[in-house]
Each structure stands twice: as C-alpha cells, then as structure tokens.
Amino acid sequence: MSEPIKVPTMAEYAAQGKQPEVLFFVGCAGSFDDRAKKITKAFVKLLHKANIDFAVLGTEESCNGDPAKRAGNEFLFQMQAMANIEVLNGYGIKKIVTACPHCFNTIGNEYPGLGGNYEVMHHTQFLKALLDEGRLKVEGGKFKGKKITFHDPCYLGRANGEYEAPRNLLEKLEVELVEMGRNKKNGFCCGAGGAQVFKEPEPGNKDINVERTEEAMETTSEIIATGCPFCMMMLTDGVKAKNAENSIQVMDVAEMIANAEDL
C-alpha cells in the first residue's frame, strides 16, 4: 500500500514556533466519512504538490456547529463555535481553507460575531487562486472532453455567492460542462442541509436527492462534480437509488484535479 501522507498538525507547528500559511479545517465528514476522506486526501495531495505550508488541527478540531445551529440548537452551536475559536485564536490562525461549504459558511459568516475573525476559503476558491498564481498547474488529462455537470452546494452557491470558482477549475480540466436546468442561483438542494442529512426525510412522494440525481442524469454526464461532502453523500445515494453506478459517478472537484494529475 502507498505510504501515509504527511499531514502536519498545528500542535507540531506551534512546538517549532512556526506558523503555516494556511490552516486546513477538515471538518467532520472529511475526517470520518469514508467517501469524504478521499476528498480530504486528494486535497492534501494537491496542497503538497503546490508546496503549500499548511497544517490541520487534528484531534483539536471539533464540529463547527452548523448542524446544531440549523437544527435549532443555538446553545450547542455557540459552545462548539467558541471552543473552536479558542483553539484557532490560541494558534493565531489568520487563514483557513476547508473542503466543506458548511464549515466554510459557518466559520466565515457566523464565527466573526463570536470573536473568530479569519479569512476563510472554500477549497475550490483556494485551488483556483493557486492556479491563477501559477503555484499549481493542471491539464485536462483523463477528463478532457468528458461530459460533466456541476451541482452547486447551497452553502457555497446561494449562501455565499460562489458559483464560478468550481466551474473555473472544471474549465481548466477541459471538460464539457453541461449545466442542469436548475443551476447557480437557482440550484436545487441535494437534501442534506439544515441537519436533514442526519435524519429521515419528512413524509413526501420523493426523496430530494433522487430528484436532484435524476436532473443530473438528464444531462447524460459521466460525472456529477460537486464541492461538498454532504452533497457527495446525498448524490451518491441518489445514484445508487437509480441503479446508475455504472453510468454516472459523483466526484469532488478537488478529486478530479488530483486524479487528472495522477496523484
């Protein structure tokens, strides 16, 4: 098997009296969900490739509190937020990158009011910046010319107005981007947000992730690209529900870039 990847922690950096360029906030899904861990690793490989001086909090990281807040438990949210802020401020963190739009939204928008002020970037924004600065190079590789659709995560798109960074990356991969009917501002939720992913849906006539997966399949794309580990779970389940694993797969944009580079 391949060698374990090098993932420095903030504690290690602090012990050496150093400060990394950026903190990678991995998030719960990226740490524990088997599918999302692959996104985490792909992103770490890209960080190494671009020679980014980064660190993670490791065991000092805790849930950002988004599911608690959106489930209505403001207490638990603020407890989580303040505990995280204490750790982040303790390390003097200035810049954070995360591969999860929920961490991105919560830390970027809701932490400042509680004393946590950081420059927070979604990994697609971060990767785009690396490409723009020439610190990372990417060529189409195996995705060149492939039909690919992009699913906008609500907390990246509508919630924070970022529609272009992930699409820019796909462009760099020279894919044939086919938009779904509902995209960008009108993007259709995968069904996970607002803590829904942790519970059974309310009674209805269809599951939201199936509705979205069907829409993605209508584009006859080979890949549904996205930028959120929870969208990843929901759409992967949707593809399974449609028995379409052989015709369409769900991938994070970072995975695609790492893949194209054979990392």
Partner: protein, 443 residues
C-alpha cells in the same frame, strides 16, 4: 345646490382615506408587537436594493413572462396615479381636467395618451394574469394553502383592476365625444390613442346620455379606487405599498449567515469563563436572559419578519422552488408567511376587542404551522432567493426550530442523537475526537 357633488366627493375622499389610515395604523401597531431589530446598518446597500429590487423589479423579471406583465401593471399603477391627482382636484373644486389649464398642451396630451396606453397594457396584463390563474391553472396558484379566500382574493384584485381600467377608458371616450360636440365645461384637452376606438360606439348618443356616461364612469372610477385602497388591508395586495419598506429591511448579509442569539452568547461565555461566579447577583441594569428562546408565536418574531408577512402577495415563487415542497413534503414557505400574517391578524383583532392581548390558548406553532413543516426544511435558501420582495421565510422556520429544540427539547430523535454526538465527541457521528486524524494513515 351646484356644490353638492363637490361636497359628496370630499366626504367620500375623506372617508376613504380616513378608514385606510385607521387600518394602516393597525398594521403598524401589529408589526410593533414583534421584537425590535436594529436595521441601521448597510444603509447604502439597502437603498440600492430598494432601487434595484423594488423600484427596478429586478427579481420579478427572473421569470420573463409574468415579470413583463407585472411591469405593465406596476408602471401603470404608478403613472396613472398622476391622473388620480387631477381627478381629486377636479372632484373637490368642480373643475374639469384642471391639469390641462396648468400644463402646456403638448405635455398634457402626452400624459393623457400615455395613461391610455398604460391602461390598455394593464388591462392586457391583468387578463393574462387571470388566465394564468384560472385557465392555465399554474400549479403554484393551486397549492393547498391557496384554497378559499386566498384564491378569491387573487381574482378579486384582477377584477377590480379590469373594471377600473375599463371605466377610465370609457370616461375618456365619452369626454372625447363631448369635446367634439363642443359641450360647455368639456374643454378641448387630451389625446386619446386608445379610447378613440371606443368613441365610435357612442355615436348618436344624446348630449345628456354622454354626460351621464362620462360622469358615471368618472364617479365609479374614483370611488372604485377608494374602495380598492381600503380593500388592500384585507388582501394580499398590500405588497403594492409594503414591498418598498420590506425590501429596504430585507437581508443584507450573505444568505448563509444566520443570526447568532446574543442571549445565548452571554450564557455560553459565562459557562466558558472559569472566573465567573454563577451565583453572583446580576449587575444593575444587566440584560436579563429572555423569557424564551426562539419563536412559538408571532410576538416572538422580529418586526421585520412580521412586515414580511404583511408584504407577502402569495405569488408562490418560494414554494415553487422549495425542494421539500417539490418532493411532496408538507412544507410550503408561502404558507409559513400566510400563517404568520393570519395569526398576527387574529391577535390584532383580539387587541381591538379587549384593549390588550388576552391569551386565546392559541399560538403560531401547532395551531397554524405544524412541526412536520418546520422539520422538512433543508435551509437551502431557494425560497429567499426566489422572493421578488426580499421576504425571508427561512428565518421564521429557524426561529421556530429554536423554540422546539431549546424550549421543548422536541427535536426529531435522530437529530437528538446527532446533537448528543456533537456535544460528547465533537462530530455528529459517534466517533472519538481522538480519531479525527486517523484518515491520514488509512488507505
């Protein structure tokens, strides 16, 4: 005797405006039942929103067909009001087409001509709107919450506008015939590009009949406007006034940014500060913890949320993009707004009757909005994005979830499990926080 019409007109005008003012004051009183909010931030952004979204209708035209038709009706409504000004002056002082004596002839003719063209466009718009509701039966107008009054209300407004526009054009047509006949009082003024096609229908009518038609149309038109003005309060049509303040007070931070509860912040800070004495008596003037977290009734909501409820015109764009609604769940963001207004009105009537609010054993939660609706929301913000007048149904859903969880511990079981996990091990799943970095050694 000759002053009787002027007196009657003035009485009608005063009654119409008086009753309307009374009801507007009720609306303001009801909105003030809500929590105060500080909206003194982002002034520039707020005004720019008013110009873009409210005046400029930028979100209406996201759906081009209804957007264009709505612009006809909206511009018609705003511009034709200049004509109403003339009607009011004429009515009070017994003049006829008074503006023609004040304004240059060319300008006056231009104004009247544009009113006529707009009136026709309004008529076309309103007829097509009616068709979309009743013949084409657009799905969003036939959702469960649109049964009964909301459905009739939508149609009444359209009938009102049709009648008003027809009366306006009839009045002009008769006036034109009278001008041609050279009848005294009917000064030669105005250009009539649309009503000139109605005039031929009046050929051969006597001077008396024509005057009766002209006066009749004039009176019904202005009385109709006064009745319509007072109908607003009882209708979803209040948006023609409230859309502007509502857009001003709309959300100006990223849609993903939800409000942090300050009362909770204080308590959490106390919990985390080892130097705090939990038994200390609170300092003089210290802000007390609120009686309740979240919202179970309209008084717990903010004034902006209550203004949202009065502004909602039940177009259903929110519901038509809601992932929960589309997949057959009970949740409809429009119903959240309609329920909020209905409950607020109920409380308003209670206050009218009793002088102050007498508990009626009802509340917004359960008696209007069901838990099943609240728990179906994915917080995706599609409803907020879709609203052409910056209403935020999601914020009400969130406040009510806060009440359910923090006051009643009534979250769905699976969510309680996830929250317990977050509390115990810092992740929504039962994994140990010490294993958080294990992924780096896995293949």
């Amino acid at each position: 005797m000759q002053y009787i019409p002027n007196i009657l007109f003035t009485i009608a005008l005063a009654a119409g405006i008086g009753y309307f003012t009374l009801n507007i004051r009720k609306i303001i009183r009801n909105i003030k039942l809500g929590r105060e909010v500080d909206a003194s931030d982002h002034t520039g952004q707020r005004w720019s929103n008013v110009f873009r979204i409210a005046l400029g209708q930028s979100k209406m035209v996201v759906r081009p067909i209804p957007g264009l038709l709505h612009i006809f009706v909206y511009v018609g409504f705003v511009i034709i009001n200049i004509e109403v000004l003339e009607i009011i002056i004429d009515g009070i002082f017994g003049t006829h087409r008074v503006l023609s004596t004040v304004l240059p002839e060319g300008l006056y003719n231009f104004l009247i001509a544009s009113f006529e063209i707009l009136a026709l466009l309004v008529l076309v718009g309103v007829i097509l709107f009616w068709t979309r509701r009743n013949i084409q039966k657009l799905q969003r107008f036939w959702k469960p919450e649109m049964k009964g009054w909301p459905k009739n209300d939508g149609n009444f407004i359209l009938y009102f506008e049709m009648v008003l526009m027809i009366l306006f054009l009839t009045m002009n047509a008769a006036d034109q015939s009278l001008q041609t006949l050279g009848v005294v009082h009917y000064v030669d003024a105005g250009a009539f590009p649309i009503s000139k096609f109605i005039t031929p229908l009046m050929d051969g009518l006597s001077e008396g009949t024509l005057i009766a038609i002209e006066r009749g149309a004039w009176w019904f038109h202005i009385l109709g406007i006064l009745v319509f003005l007072n109908y607003l309060y009882f209708s979803k049509h209040l948006h023609i006034l409230l859309a502007f303040p509502n857009v001003y007070f709309g959300k100006v931070v990223p849609m993903g940014k939800f409000r942090n509860l300050d009362s909770v912040t204080n308590e959490v800070k106390m919990m985390m500060d080892p130097n705090v004495d939990p038994f200390a008596t609170p300092a003089e003037g210290a802000t007390e913890a609120p009686a309740k977290f979240g919202a179970s009734d309209v008084m717990d909501l903010s004034r902006i949320q209550l203004l949202n409820a009065y502004t909602c015109t039940e177009c259903g764009r929110c519901t038509s993009v809601c992932p929960a609604n589309i997949t057959g769940k009970l949740l409809s963001p429009r119903k959240i707004m309609m329920d909020t207004r209905d409950r607020l009105e109920e409380i308003g009537k209670n206050i009218d009757k009793n002088g102050e609010f007498k508990p009626d054993g009802k509340q917004l939660l359960d008696d209007y909005i069901l838990r099943e609706e609240l728990w179906a929301c994915t917080t995706c913000n599609a409803c907020v994005e879709a609203c052409p007048v910056s209403i935020d149904p999601l914020s009400i859903i969130m406040d009510m979830r806060q009440y359910l969880v923090m006051e009643q511990s009534a979250a769905p079981t699976e969510l309680n499990v996830a929250m317990t996990n977050i509390e115990n091990n810092g992740a929504p799943w039962p994994y140990n926080q010490m294993d958080r970095l294990n992924w780096k050694n896995e293949n």
